[in-house]
């Protein structure tokens, strides 16, 4: 079962690199949708089939529903509404982003081997969660468009979710739901903000937010 979990975690990392390396906005959203789906399968892969509980199944179903279906749909809707279909427009180039991404994974792995996480978990789990957080920060910091920053925020939240999986057997179900709701509200608000920015200033470039005056 851990081999399957390792594979899923690896694919999560690869979707992170896809988001860092792609030039298209829609590919970014598809990437984060796939990442959400993989994260939904992760709690199932971490536990053997005989130990699946209603809790595990509910967590998986809820995660897939929110992270892989609802949020990507919402983001696609935002693209359509705000009529943005252009390229990502990074402040840091794609090649440099991917290089920074691999450095992030290396640092996260080095930290993960030293981090005393309670419980018996594959080391890749902690490494992936930290990498996801750093990659999400990278996207948040280096992309000019507000919509891509939402994707970066989602990646960051995905990293936190993976870290939460290390304590899923000890922390109640409600904590996970809280995380999911958190994202949902966050994206909802950001979606509205994106929508309004586009309507008010006819641009999604967050650099222009500095020009706001009353």
């Amino acid at each position: 079962m851990t081999h399957l979990a390792d594979l899923l975690l690896l694919l999560v990392l690869l979707t992170g690199f896809l988001i860092l390396g792609t030039t298209r906005l829609t590919t970014c959203i598809r990437g984060v949708a796939v990442q959400g789906g993989l994260l939904g399968l992760l709690p199932l892969a971490l536990e053997p089939l005989s130990q699946w509980s209603a809790h595990t199944l509910g967590l998986a179903a809820g995660t897939i529903l929110v992270k892989a279906i609802a949020l990507p749909w919402f983001l696609t809707w935002a693209i359509r509404e705000a009529a943005v279909r252009r390229e990502v427009e990074p402040r840091v180039g794609y090649v440099a982003s991917m290089a920074l991404g691999i450095i992030a994974v290396a640092v996260a792995s080095a930290v993960a081997t030293r981090l005393p996480v309670p419980g018996d978990h594959p080391i890749l789990l902690v490494a992936t969660s930290l990498s996801c957080v750093i990659m999400g920060l990278l996207v948040l910091a280096t992309r000019a468009k507000a919509l891509i920053q939402v994707v970066g925020y989602l990646m960051l939240e995905n990293g936190i979710y993976v870290f939460g999986l290390t304590s899923v057997d000890r922390v109640p179900f409600l904590v996970e739901v809280g995380v999911l709701l958190d994202i949902f509200v966050g994206v909802f608000i950001m979606g509205i903000v994106v929508f309004h920015i586009n309507r008010e200033f006819d641009s999604l470039d967050s650099a222009r937010l500095t020009e706001l005056r009353d």
């Binding site: 081999h3 594979l7 090649v95 991917m98 691999i102 792995s109 993960a112 081997t113 890749l124």
Partner: protein
């Protein structure tokens, strides 16, 4: 024991021209055309071999050296790869550096020959060829680093052969092996000048990369270059397959068969990619090649974590 490496070498030397044909046929079939037969390159080679060569008066001996080096270097590199999953004909510690150096030498002479003609188009193609090759090399070496870390060996036969009992096996090592195999497949697409990087069927000098560098060669020289290119493709198509097969613990005849079948399958995969996607814009190619390096470095990290 010694018969199978020889059989592998023979099969590679004889069957290599089949691979571009298989890729082209796959591409033609998938795009709804009939396409040339898979053995078209053999016919081309025979036809070119019977022709005479024409040399421009501005060229020197460097121009005539390139085709010879273009065949000799991949041929020597084949000797280093354990195609039967056991041991190569030629093996010594650190021979993966020799492997990369031989292939780089072949490219170097080709670039010199292209510059020797004094044609601006060929110079442009040569500069692109050299530029992309320098981005491919990190991916290739990082892939070898993964294998060296996993097996504790420093020769290709040790890294890819089944002789040594190593920790790198299917199961625990599967993720990093898969990373290396995919990364080497990207390397193949760049080294063999296939679609996302270069289009072998293009006829516009401005966008050609590899094809433009051999524009001035004719007759037997061109035949040698084409055969060398096919051998190079065979070598890089076999490499990811050998990486996967050598860890399955098969005996020599079975492993050799699996490698040959796998190599043809890789050629089919190349054809499928050619049929399904367009060539990348030149400025996007480095991104693709860096992605190959990223995959290989991910393999290194996984290997260090394990």
């Amino acid at each position: 024991m010694t018969a199978w490496p020889l059989a592998g070498l023979g099969a590679m030397l004889v069957l290599a021209p089949l691979l571009p044909g298989v890729a082209a046929k796959t591409r033609a079939t998938l795009t709804g055309r009939r396409g040339a037969p898979v053995w078209q390159l053999y016919r081309d080679l025979r036809r070119l071999w019977r022709k005479g060569a024409v040399y421009s008066t501005t060229t020197t001996w460097i121009f005539r050296l390139a085709p010879v080096a273009g065949v000799a270097t991949p041929m020597l590199a084949v000797l280093l790869v354990p195609l039967d999953g056991q041991a190569a004909l030629l093996r010594f510690a650190g021979d993966f550096v020799a492997f990369a150096a031989l292939l780089a030498l072949g490219r170097f002479t080709l670039v010199l020959a292209a510059l020797d003609t004094g044609s601006s188009f060929e110079g442009m193609g040569a500069s692109r060829d050299a530029g992309f090759a320098s981005l491919v090399e990190p991916a290739l070496f990082l892939g070898f680093v993964v294998l060296a870390l996993g097996t504790g060996q420093s020769s290709l036969s040790g890294m890819l052969g089944g002789e040594t009992g190593s920790s790198l096996s299917w199961g625990a090592g599967a993720p990093s092996l898969a990373m290396v195999a995919v990364s080497l497949f990207f390397v193949l697409l760049a080294e063999a000048s296939r679609v996302p990087v270069d289009d072998p069927a293009t006829h516009l000098e401005l966008t050609m990369i590899h094809e433009v560098a051999v524009l001035d060669h004719s007759g037997p020289d061109l035949a040698l270059l084409l055969y060398g290119g096919a051998l190079r493709m065979g070598l890089f198509a076999a490499l990811p397959v050998v990486v996967l097969v050598s860890r399955a613990g098969l005996t020599a005849p079975l492993a050799l068969g699996a490698v040959l079948v796998g190599t043809v399958a890789v050629a089919v995969a190349v054809g499928v990619i050619e049929a399904s996607m367009a060539r990348l814009r030149l400025s996007r190619v480095p991104q693709f090649l860096v992605a190959a390096s990223v995959l290989a470095s991910l393999g290194v990290i996984l290997q260090l974590l394990a």
